[in-house]
């Protein structure tokens, strides 16, 4: 595949689809969108298959460079981290189109065009190797999302769309100023060069804060998360899926690509701030999720809690933590997406998101109940599912850096179990109090085809995470090496035990970790 511009092609296909969708009727638009996203999925898998995972080759692969924009260039290229997020994007997109097949019946062409354009921008964000190109892709995502929420959203859509737009825009503009400063300082817009550039530690703090403003909003971190529940609740189902599945990951990707490698000293210095906000987020938003009466809002708050696990993993400054953070991002992308789809399934039937309006669905919708239970368990972090791997690694990573943070964040798992199981009980178990809910038909073939692939991947990721970890490992190792000089000491004082011969090992348990005093 040498020299073949596959990344540009992956952006060109949905772009062409988006333009085509604007000019055709509803049904053609659906098919065009589905075919374009499936083609992109195939291309994405080809990308993965041709990606050199050994770590011995170049870190940046499939690079393209065309200096056609004057002050910046069309520079693309991916590493393992970007590859995984691209795979997530192209995997979720056809599912989103499928989820909107019947649910969207007004202005279908524009809707599909907005989604395909969104896909172009998401791939652009993860592949951009030029700082300004990244910013343009990152910001441009506001336009289609604003329209998706505003046109096809629920009753309060206009307020939600404004809030989403202005919140995220305000977060990002300061990042742009920081980017300009960095480019003038380092004399290049190339991200790989900037990742190795050592900025003055005093300035790093300011730069970090400017980037933090953007990524924290996008992530979203407490206390700037308030746009998310509104946006999720009002967005159409597929909009929620893409928002939770991929858009939130842009924040995490931003931390891993920019904040950590470009400002290692500032990251270490401000890590307690990130930890603090994450701890509050885990506990507070989990408790808030517990008392929600709206299903989508509940899952939105649970997203905030999960994203907080991502941030503590990232700011653990070690390989376990960062790998865990990436796995949580991938796992959450799938599981939260699937949960929004599950909500969408019953919303399409009853047109309400009120939890109290449902109940006892396992009686009349057994297949639905099974899949919903599976994703509920995955969200809780049951071993064997994707989220367990990620959360375990992330918490293990943060344990090395700070035992207190690990302690508080682990309560999030328990709280997560509480609100998710409570939600499941109220929807699927108990008496069938509502006649209309009791009369709902079970999953259709289309809906099963939407949820089953996600379930398979979630299981795969939980049972054999190595498939997903191995492409990222060399890059995360490089990041850890970059962070090592600045990484905070950590309070767990881990002493690595010497491996004992097989027979003795179970007699004397070697303490591999310290006390969580």
């Amino acid at each position: 595949m040498d020299g073949f511009p596959i990344l540009s092609l992956m952006m060109a296909v949905p772009m062409a689809g988006a333009i085509a969708c604007l000019f055709v009727g509803a049904n053609s638009a659906r098919w065009i969108a589905l075919i374009a996203t499936l083609v992109d999925f195939v291309l994405g898998m080809a990308l993965w298959a041709n990606f050199d995972q050994s770590g011995s080759g170049a870190q940046w692969q499939f690079q393209e460079y065309a200096p056609i924009f004057g002050k910046f260039a069309w520079a693309l290229g991916i590493d393992g981290i970007a590859l995984m997020l691209i795979a997530l994007t192209v995997f979720l997109m056809p599912i989103c189109i499928g989820a909107s097949w019947n649910a969207i019946n007004k202005r279908v062409g524009e809707y599909m065009a907005a989604f395909l354009f969104m896909e172009v921008l998401m791939i652009g964000v993860f592949t951009a190797q030029d700082l300004y190109l990244f910013y343009i892709m990152f910001e441009a995502g506001l336009i289609p999302m604003y329209l998706i929420i505003g046109i096809w959203g629920g009753a309060d859509r206009i307020y939600a769309s404004y809030k989403f737009f202005l919140y995220t825009l305000f977060g990002s503009v300061l990042m742009l100023i920081a980017m300009m400063w960095m480019v003038h300082e380092a004399g290049t817009t190339e991200i790989p060069v900037l990742m190795a550039y050592n900025f003055d530690p005093h300035v790093q703090t300011w730069l970090f804060l400017a980037f933090f403003a953007s990524f924290a909003v996008k992530m979203p971190m407490w206390p700037v998360h308030t746009w998310l529940p509104d946006a999720h609740v009002q967005a159409p189902t597929a909009g929620s899926v893409i928002l939770a599945g991929v858009l939130l990951k842009m924040g995490g990707y931003g931390f891993i690509r920019f904040s950590l490698p470009m400002f290692p000293e500032a990251s270490a210095q401000l890590a307690p701030l990130v930890w603090g906000l994450s701890m509050v987020a885990v506990v507070y938003t989990s408790l808030v999720a517990l008392v929600q009466s709206d299903m989508k809002k509940l899952i939105a708050y649970s997203s905030v809690a999960h994203m907080a696990i991502v941030t503590v993993g990232l700011f653990a400054f070690n390989q376990a933590g960062i790998e865990g953070a990436m796995m949580v991002m991938l796992g959450h992308g799938l599981v939260a997406g699937a949960l929004f789809l599950c909500v969408g399934v019953i919303y399409d039937r009853l047109h309400t998101r009120e939890i109290a309006r449902y109940g006892g669905l396992s009686i009349n919708m057994p297949r639905y109940a099974v899949l919903f239970l599976f994703f509920t368990m995955a969200s809780v972090g049951l071993p064997g599912t994707s989220n367990f791997v990620g959360e375990f690694l992330a918490l293990m990573g943060i344990y090395q850096a700070s035992t207190w943070v690990a302690l508080v964040c682990t309560t999030g798992i328990i709280l997560g179990a509480a609100y998710m199981l409570y939600l499941y009980r109220r929807i699927c178990y108990g008496e069938q109090v509502n006649a209309d809910a009791a009369a709902m038909p079970d999953l259709s073939g289309r809906e099963i085809w939407l949820l089953a692939p996600i379930a398979a991947v979630v299981l795969w990721m939980g049972v054999y995470p190595e498939s997903f970890l191995s492409p990222m490992r060399p890059d995360i190792r490089a990041l850890e090496a970059r962070l090592a000089p600045a990484a905070p000491a950590g309070d767990s004082k881990i002493k690595m035990g010497a491996p004992k011969p097989a027979g003795e090992a179970h007699h004397e348990e070697v303490s591999a970790h310290g006390e969580a005093h």
Binding site: F69, A140, Y162
Partner: protein
């Protein structure tokens, strides 16, 4: 003193003058029936003048002993001015035809204004500057009150005239102070005199000159005339006011600030920074409550001028280049947006101006709605549209020259501005349709609209050309 080289340097102005005078005779003898042919010939005159721009560079920058400059900067600005003026002429007939108010004086006045604007951007002396400015202003006053039967139009013309005269007086007073304390009206002469320290008298002169110029670019705190004039003037005239004279006045301000007042850079920099931030903030906040789209565009232009001034505040060649690029992109966005506004006509073809009437436009007129949304997102500075690049350039220049705080504040304030542009998009796309609109727009409007939209969407591909042209224009001032 008059040599052929000097005459060649002002060839575009000569062509416009001759064309304008001949067409005026045609109009005078032919009556209102000649309106359409005069319209077409005026555009042709502007095109010929635009072609002549390339000749004007042939013999070095100075003409008429330094009174007029024909350099890359003036060529750049004039090309924009002529293009905007031609667009304003082309967009007019359909608007005026509904009131049968189309008269041949309209394009002729625009031609005369274009001569004045050409002189403004190529002035090398305070007196040329003033003559050019007044030439443009007098034509503009008449244009604002062009619909004689319409009370709002007359009111706009009168307001513009009274406040404009006041500003001209302020400017003239500043020029006389500068002349008195520096002993020269030539830009280079003033610069030499300021080079050995800025005295109190010179400082006063500088402040008055800048205040007069701030009025012309409608920067806060001299913006008060803008909303009333924009709202009252006929829409094609508003299109014109929002585009060509803005470029001319901004070009003039930049040239005066760099060429004449360059040595006093530190003194005017604070003023420009204040004016820029005040314009950005006021333009953004005051626009939120507007319900009339033309009034909103007036505040939007105040807002945009503030951003353009940030490039000037940087005071570097890169900053000036950024300001000029900003104006180029701004002109395209503005003409595109007004081409949309001109198509706001109800089912009977009568023009409407309320934002509320746009509700649900995306369902009745898809193309128009999409174009409207493109221009509004672009004005809000959202990538990947070209309006983002305009803002990017000025902020980049500010950061490069160490004005990071200014850039951070300005860009944060741009989020406020984004709100009211979003409001229009919301009305177009999210609201349910209310009243019906005319089924389709005029051919000329659609062509101009499409051309502008294409530039705004694919503008980044023009970056190398635009960067080079702006950089050359800026370099000729330093």
């Amino acid at each position: 003193m008059i040599d052929s080289a000097s005459l060649l340097a002002v060839l575009p102005e000569l062509i416009l003058t001759a064309g304008g005078l001949i067409l005026m005779l045609v109009a005078a003898f032919g009556g209102d029936g000649t309106a359409r042919i005069v319209n077409a010939l005026s555009v042709l005159t502007l095109i010929v003048a635009g072609v002549a721009l390339s000749c004007s560079l042939a013999h070095g920058p100075d003409a008429f002993g330094g009174l007029v400059r024909a350099d890359a900067f003036s060529v750049y600005a004039k090309a924009l001015i002529y293009a905007a003026a031609a667009a304003a002429i082309l967009l007019a007939p359909r608007f005026f035809s509904t009131d049968s108010a189309l008269r041949p004086e309209y394009p002729i006045l625009i031609l005369f204004a274009a001569i004045g604007m050409g002189m403004m951007v190529s002035a090398g002396d305070m007196l040329t500057l003033y003559v050019g400015l007044e030439m443009n202003s007098l034509a503009s006053y008449v244009l604002a009150s062009f619909m004689r039967q319409d009370g709002r139009s007359s009111e706009a013309g009168l307001k513009y005239f009274v406040l404009g005269s006041l500003a001209s007086g302020i400017l003239l007073y500043g020029i006389s102070l500068l002349y008195g304390f520096t002993g020269s009206t030539a830009f280079d002469g003033i610069a030499v005199a300021l080079g050995d320290g800025v005295g109190k008298g010179e400082l006063f002169g500088l402040v008055f000159v800048l205040a007069g110029l701030a009025f012309k670019i409608s920067a806060v705190p001299f913006h008060m005339w803008t909303p009333d004039v924009y709202e009252g003037a006929p829409t094609p005239v508003t299109t014109f006011f929002a585009s060509a004279p803005k470029v001319a006045a901004m070009g003039l301000t930049v040239r005066v600030a760099i060429e004449a007042l360059g040595p006093a850079g530190l003194d005017w920099q604070q003023i420009v920074i204040f004016v820029a931030l005040a314009s950005i903030l006021f333009g953004a906040v005051a626009a939120i409550g507007q319900s009339n789209i033309k009034r909103l565009m007036a505040y939007s232009s105040i807002n945009n001028v503030g951003f353009a001034l940030i490039g000037l505040a940087a005071g570097t060649p890169a900053g000036v280049a950024a300001t000029m690029s900003y104006m180029a992109i701004y002109v395209v966005m503005t003409i595109g947006a007004f081409a949309c506004i001109l198509q706001m006509r109800d089912a009977d073809g009568k023009p409407v101006e309320t934002i509320a009437s746009l509700a649900g436009l995306s369902q009745s007129r898809k193309g128009l709605a999409a174009a409207f949304a493109i221009f509004m997102f672009s004005m809000a500075g959202i990538p990947p549209l070209f309006g983002f690049w305009a803002k990017f350039l000025v902020f980049d220049a500010a950061v490069a020259s160490g004005l990071t705080a200014l850039a951070a504040f300005g860009i944060a304030a741009s989020v406020i501005g984004a709100f009211y542009y979003l409001k229009i998009i919301k009305t177009i796309y999210f609201d349910e349709p209310t009243g019906a609109y005319e089924a389709k727009g005029g051919a000329v409007e659609n062509v101009i609209l499409t051309a502008c939209a294409v530039v705004i969407v694919l503008g980044y591909l023009l970056n190398p050309v635009l960067d080079q042209a702006s950089a050359a224009a800026a370099a000729s001032l330093f």
